[in-house]
Symmetry: D3
Subunit: 237 residues, 6 copies
């Protein structure tokens, strides 16, 4: 397998919990996995790091180091930090442009990002919207002759799915890379409080996938919702 995949997240931790399995799985098969983190999540998703009179820069450095470690475990090929700040994450036309340039350079055929709605976390919504805008910018000839065929967008799982209207139509079997995902999660000690929660998420998705067809031995899974129709040559899975 060749090709490329792009992951765009609002905060550094998101890629591990939500699509770390997909990243490891595709990297292992030769797909080039690229990652963009729009912020370090230093304000709202680094709670345990704010001890004593730690500086903002120190918190950001700590989260960056964790993200690099986790990305390394998952086999990521390139990693961009946009450092936009978070809670709230501001809109940024410059970030949109930079994401579009990654799409042009990598020719990624699929982009993983946050779902459209999340009333508890508007940073995620904004990331979704900026990613869709970057997709447009990447496919426009007026921005350069290296314009791309527009990629599929797959939204990964938010923290509380029903709150976000998240309706997964794809369950990915990640059993074979679970150990790698689990290690990447442990490379994020600042968010240790989420480890058990997302281990259970993976087990539930694995159990759901195991009910259907040939993935009966499936034990760990990840859920995705596609934004655009898939174009296929066969309907038999």
């Amino acid at each position: 397998m060749s090709g490329a995949m792009l992951v765009v997240t609002a905060h550094v931790g998101d890629f591990v919990w939500r699509c770390g399995g997909a990243m490891a799985l595709h990297a292992r098969r030769g797909v080039a996995v690229h990652l963009v983190c729009l912020s370090y999540g230093e304000n709202g998703e680094s709670n345990s790091a704010w001890q004593g009179d730690v500086s903002r820069d120190a918190v950001k450095a700590q989260r960056r180091a964790e993200a690099e470690a986790a990305a390394g475990i998952l086999g990521v090929q390139s990693l961009d930090f946009h450092d936009l700040g978070d809670y709230p994450l501001p809109e940024s036309a410059d970030s949109v442009r930079r994401i579009s340039e990654v799409l042009r350079r990598t020719r990624a055929s699929v982009v993983l990002t946050h779902p459209e709605h999340d009333p508890s976390n508007l940073d995620h919504c904004r990331t979704f919207e900026m990613t869709l805008r970057a997709r447009m910018q990447a496919m426009a000839p007026g921005h350069g002759s290296d314009f791309v065929v527009p990629p599929q967008i797959l939204c990964f799982e938010p923290h509380q799915t029903e709150l976000c209207g998240f309706k997964p139509n794809v369950l990915l079997d990640i059993t074979e890379v679970w150990e790698q995902k689990w290690q990447a999660m442990q490379a994020m000690p600042t968010q240790r409080n989420l480890w058990a929660y997302y281990e259970r998420v993976a087990q539930q998705r694995g159990a759901q996938a195991g009910r259907r067809g040939k993935h009966a031995g499936n034990r760990y899974g990840e859920a995705y919702q596609s934004i655009f129709p898939a174009v296929v040559s066969s309907l038999v899975e």
Copy 2:
């Protein structure tokens, strides 16, 4: 490719316009395609046949012959007519049981049928519901030890998609079997008035599919909406 596919429709014409391409494509590749038509559509979808003092039996016989001809062109392996009557189509526990028996016998991994909602045609909704019920009956050990892994349900395109809340997430490239589908349509002269309409539907779906990725040469397509999440081993199309 092996395996089996089941198509369940309310009226005899439906399979041609809505999923004739999928049937021909999979039959050509060795998938066993089975078809159940719950009615002959003699009341509401055979308008041109009601000429003079034609009898109901004659209309039904005419539609049955057309359906057999079209099914033959598309490579159908088995064809059941339940003759429930239409406009409206009544609920039938017996039909549910018979569909479940086809599922058990054929081990079909995917079922094509009407979408859940259609205010202009409740026969379609009832067929959807009976198919889902048959799926349950087929997977229950209490109805026999030959119970099945529950198949995916893919809804094909209704006449006016937006009226039905139809949201396709799969576009099937049927370019290579278009001629076969077109012939099957012509084997249904009673509904000649629909030929041009569904030729354009196929062209529109082909054009939409052609915008995305590797199906750029796609000229004809069919749209489907999956009811259950697909379980996959890769996210790269």
Copy 3:
């Protein structure tokens, strides 16, 4: 103006509160207004009638008399009672057939009935569904050569709109017939408890209509949701 309109309700009171204005308005202009009440609402919508040891037949007779009086005030041309019983109202293929026959006989171009969803009153949902089925039966040549062009379906306002997902896209100005509607309401003393409520509903819809365009003097209104697209020759109201 000529033509015909059909109203189908679950219980005898419904037509007064929900579309009495439309009935009076169109009757006044020469449209033939026909009414079908599937039940007398004797069980669940005649609370004040169940005094002492009144008999079921007496309650039904009382409600029938009220409905006839109200229908007379509104200018109804024909009135059918199906007497199916209520709370719950059972499904009835015979009623579907009878409604379809009214459609064939009257050539009504529009049918007013309950909206699709109402968790507090499934009799209303069933009436909607039976009406849609009757529409199919009326348009099918196989049920007789007097088949009709399928009419528009307009759903009138339920008791608590948001609970029912009711989304009106039409506001009808009933100011000129308000007095008639008010009298028809008073012809239903068994449901006296609803008079003030539905007077306020009419005032709210009047106020909402008054905000838009040329109906600034509008003081009373009724809200409707169309099921099928309107086919028009102009977009300027």
Copy 4:
């Protein structure tokens, strides 16, 4: 605390996994908890019981015994089995009437049942609909002068929430009765395969509840979606 609660399920196992915590919690506080199981789930939800040439009656007896044991652990006060059969569960006007009679007799102010939609399990949808119909029948004076104030309906969690459009707006802290629920689950050895899955469901709901306000120590939870607006005297939780 006094009052009464009614639980209506399609199959015998459902009450344990989906609302066993609510049942134990309210029973402990003096609320009378009543249970109606429309079927034994013998066909579709007793897979491990169909060993060798076991008879249908034996499977039903086994499931009935399990349900009685689990209900006893949870403090249920009355338990009705309607024995309608399952996969599929048929509609039954008689069951609707019997549920309405329980509502009249117990004056339950809240009913727990399945959510409205579930494409993988139409028995659940039918139970929801029959429960709403029973609610109507119970509140109608025409069916007896002991008619009730209509109760709130709370839908408990289906197996795969997003597939069902389930949107919980209430999270119940069941930490204090978790051990009881866990024992009730173990009283259902026929469905041993679900124990771990629903333990994790309880942990996820507990974690979600723990994020909000004063339930920080919350470790186990259950999720519910209310069908009707709650009428309250205060907005501060």
Copy 5:
């Protein structure tokens, strides 16, 4: 009762019509009620004030005085005017920060604001979004160690509910404070045209609440839609 409640509105009038009852009710019980008005509504919601050659400053002063009077009647403890301008209301990161600071200072456990959607009034949507963003900012340790447990968000009623997809799941009985709310409405003579409309809204919500259970004497109500699940210890209202 203690604790705090925050109300955030786009224009000065909104709090009176939409949640004046809740404000008076909670203030009376000892809850500290805080209010933020993002604009004076001087452009689009002060129609009768634009007489002759009145200046913009005079209109704003008049609306401010009215808001202060109404807030006083309702028992508001603090009142901030952001003076952002209206029709349209611009986005403002500074306002988001200021709202988040009120949340940190008051520890409000519930925030009342506009619903998410309103095609006729995007100022309301923007206020909703800014409030959700402020909630995020308030709960982030990186913005200060006084971060808060995230409050519940309750959306109050828009002018035309169905247009906004507003689905209330909470009805508040405000009968005991109706006179106070009515006085506060009259303290807003610039919008005299809305008095009768919102009196009827209160009566309709009161009637709807009165149908359910123990609030039978309820005569006035307000409707709310919660954004996040409520975490509860009991399901019996």
Copy 6:
């Protein structure tokens, strides 16, 4: 017929494909049709123009000339180009103000624009939102005493309707102006690739309209979704 209609599009081509029939039809009847194009669509919707080392200014000039030609064919009375750039189109408070000024000057009673959602083209969503904001600005007395009665908003058809949640409730018969629309399409040679696609769209909408009532001879149509309820004096089409 008199009055005025405003069309607001994101890119120069949109008005031709999506509402060219409505424009020609109303212009022919004496309605003043005004057009605002927020960008030239030079980046993302002028693919065939980017040949060799053509300059951006040349592409824009070419598209402007095409738009002027097409508008002339359709009978447009005024045409504004805002030249905001595209893919992505930026938000612009100045453009909102300019659109509101057109509304004030022309007193248009209906505005045609893009639908609210389109994940493949956020320029369209932004145009919808800016148009709604302009509607607010136009109706606010604080922005000038020539404020207007707020116009109806009708959304025209996006490229792939189901992807956008587009639910048309109005089908306009454009048979009599089809030749004019077809000529206007041909005046846009840069987007020659869309001609056949939108000819088929018009045929499908014509066929759908032809199924209902008196437009049986309808051969070409356009679909619209109204945002606000229509206020009417009759329910009979």
